[in-house]
Amino acid sequence: MESSGNEFIRGTLKTIVLKLLAEPGPQQPSGSRRMYGYEITQAVKERTKGEITLSFGALYPVLHKLEQEGLLTTETEEVEGRLRKYYTLTPQGSEVAVQKVSDFERFMNMMRSLLQLPSRLVTAP
């Protein structure tokens, strides 16, 4: 599902990023976590067992767009001699994350019922 998979991801990338950031992180059990770009790509890769790899070309525009919309804040820290930019959800971002995830679940349910054969056809003699 290489090429078509990427096509689907493009539309859901925002949701994926918001969802990942909304989960309680290892350092701060309460509230949302902070992640940097590479960490997000690794988290996605790990959970999908390597099926989905985000390219930096897709990820960073989305992150910066979310920041511009006020859903994320950033803090830059120097780590191992390099500047690393961490992203955290704003309160508004947390709300949008919940909203987006539930919207997406609804969408998935609709898709599932679309993909199933209509029961009338299945049971017809």
């Binding site: 590479y38 070309g57 500047l83």
Partner: protein
């Protein structure tokens, strides 16, 4: 996991600049690619080999693509454009944290403050010279008025400058 040396990071940085990555993105891309190279080195590659594998995906084409998406996705909306100053437009997609953006934005107030302060100091100097030649002092003479105006102008400019500094610091620590 093995860490990249500063020389190796610098090499990567040069490459990114060379293929035309801009200010806003270069630090983030650098960290991203360095992480990827470190991961590959951990799986057993040497630095050169790991860097070559990673950089295969990061050619001029990919970076240009990134910029195009970036500029269409993140361009200012019409509403923002209407409110934006010339500085905002010039510095769109550029590194604002570097300092030039702040300097330019503060330029008008800085110039005004400097002008008021210079004028005030001049007036104070004139009043002082007048006092030295006359040896008498009264606040209710022309000299006294000049002195008072001068000293209030200097105070105003310094307070305004101080507030601006404070404001800037608050902005940067946020």
């Amino acid at each position: 996991m093995k860490k990249l040396s500063p020389q190796q990071v610098a090499k990567l940085h040069n490459h990114l600049i060379h293929i035309g990555s801009t200010d806003v993105l270069v630090d983030e891309l650098l960290d991203h690619l360095a992480c990827e190279i470190e991961y590959r080195m951990w799986t057993g590659f040497m630095f050169e080999a790991a860097m070559n594998i990673v950089l295969e995906q990061v050619n001029v084409e990919a970076v240009r693509q990134l910029h195009t998406t970036y500029q269409t996705e993140l361009a200012m909306t019409d509403e923002q454009l209407r409110q934006a100053s010339l500085d905002d437009i010039v510095f769109e997609f550029r590194n604002k944290a570097y300092g030039a953006y702040d300097l330019r934005r503060a330029y008008n107030t800085a110039l005004r403050n400097a002008f008021i302060m210079a004028l005030g100091l001049c007036m104070m100097l004139m009043a002082m010279m007048d006092l030295m030649s006359r040896k008498t002092w009264s606040y209710f003479s022309l000299t006294g008025a000049v002195w008072l105006i001068g000293i209030s102008a200097v105070t105003y400019a310094s307070v305004s400058w101080y507030l601006q500094q404070n404001h800037k610091q608050e902005m940067s620590t946020r």
